[in-house]
Amino acid sequence: MIEHLPVLLVTVPIVAALLILLLGWHDSRFCYPLTLATILFQFAGGIALLIEVMREGTIHYYLGGWAPPLGIEFVIDTFNGYILPIVLLLALATAVYARRSVEKEIKPEKIVSFYVLFQLLVTGLVGMTITGDIFNLYVFLEISSIAAYTLIASSRKPRAYVAALNYLVLGSIAGGFVLLGIGNLYVATGTLNMADLARLLPASYGLATVHTAFLLLVIGFSIKVALFPLHLWLPDAYTEAPSAVTVLISTVMAKVSVYAMFRVIFSVFTTAYFVETVPVTELILFIAAVAIVAGAVLAIAQEDLKRMLAYSSVSQVGYIVFALGVANQIALEGGLLHILGHAVMKGCLFMVAGVIIYRLGTSSFSDLKGVAATMPVTCAAFALAGASMIGVPPTIGFASKYYLVLGALEAGHWVYAAVLLAGSLLAVGYIWRFIEVAYFSASSHHEGGDHHPAPGVREAPLSMLVPMVILSILCLVLGIFVDPLMKIVAPAVSLLLGGA
């Protein structure tokens, strides 16, 4: 069983999705446990694979027994072995969280299709993570994207349609760019397997075709990860989507896109190419720095919690891409750490936003005065995750920032290190708006204990509370036990820097 685990991770959920569809037609109550069970299986599988990879080294799985270059290959090495559990952890948390949230935010008749699409989205992302074939990557990308468009549109809010269409158009352009890039790579080498590509490409590094491919792929993935000037789809999509969907796409999908970008840049083109042949690191650093600042500045100005968090994502993506720009061991360690950290904390924050929408029906700051009095646990979770976002030690956000700055300084990028630090200060600006409103505004000004909560406003239901609290505690726990984590991250980074 374990040797077929890679393919099972993809096929089982597809089957499960069909099953959900069929059973859900019969009775929609089946959907939730089925989804949960599938994702639980996937999560367990992901962990098992990680352990296997850490113990035995890279796993190659030939789909249908066809060896590359003819067949499609699933490869699990330390890098995606690290990403996979993150993806599935967040997916699991979201799945647990989704049930109550979906009841409120999605029309009842759409609930079955929601779970199906949810399942497909996760599957697509898992596929993207573990595949070793670059065209396969594209296919999974499109699968997850289409699922995401529809999931966003499943909200009750009509504006979600516009947001989804917006995302669809930009996402398709991104997909087109990626496809073109893959075509160019194929022209240059005649193979689609990533490992083969990495082997064959150095011979044709000088070719314009390769440059074009690089550019197209980077631009394509930049749109998908919402790197600053290409982030335009993100705020609307995150804001208008149902909360559970927001959690999923903001954490898992964004992270997998980043993974793909890293994978293509490091494992296909190798460090030598993009640091020496096409020296774009300075440019990437610059863009990342702009993204960090601009995203945070835009976030500060928002009047809506969810929208603010969306812009915060723009800023945080900048941190991860920053690591790409520095491209040394320490900074990349920080970058990978931030992939995990940001997934956990942003997941928690969006969950809080979802809970608030669930209870209050709005996430506009002006309506959230003193919400901490009625929802103490939720707001405490926000405070903790927010502290991590700011980078207060000893949270995970601090650890990743520490590594990033360390890496940047080691590479001699003084100014950019300063920008990075300033970015975390700006993070204070937006995180604190909520803290202030929730904890310290006039309507919470009651004598300890005998406040008068608005009717219906109380602490979140347990199924939403638990994943949220776990994620927020994870922010702290991961930050404290960052050293064991580095035992996984460090080899992953060495792998990236050492080539495929």
Binding site: Y138, Y149, G175, Y186
Partner: protein, 124 residues
Amino acid sequence: MEAVLEAFLSHYNYGMAIILMMIGLYALIAKQNLVKKLIGLNIFQTAIFLFYISFADVEGGIAPIYLPEGMEAIYVNPLPHVLILTAIVVGVSVTAVGLSLIVRIYEEYGVIDEAGLLKMVKRR
């Protein structure tokens, strides 16, 4: 100049792919009507398909069909064709989703042009 023209003419199908791509992107950006935008997207994707098919072509090659015993022929590269079949499927799905979204938008707002939509969205 001669050489450039020569080069361009010899790769005219790539040129056409680029031109198509630009047309598609132009439509995406400049057209106010959402359906026309989607058509632009389709044109863009078609251009990519064309690009793939072009580089798969081998001068004098024939379709990679299994030939009777003893016959020899130069095949065009079959892999890009296979890939592009997948891509076409993706393109169709995207178009379908996009169109259904436009239908919903029309139901909700009663407009399918961008400017009007912005106005409607803001009003709500």
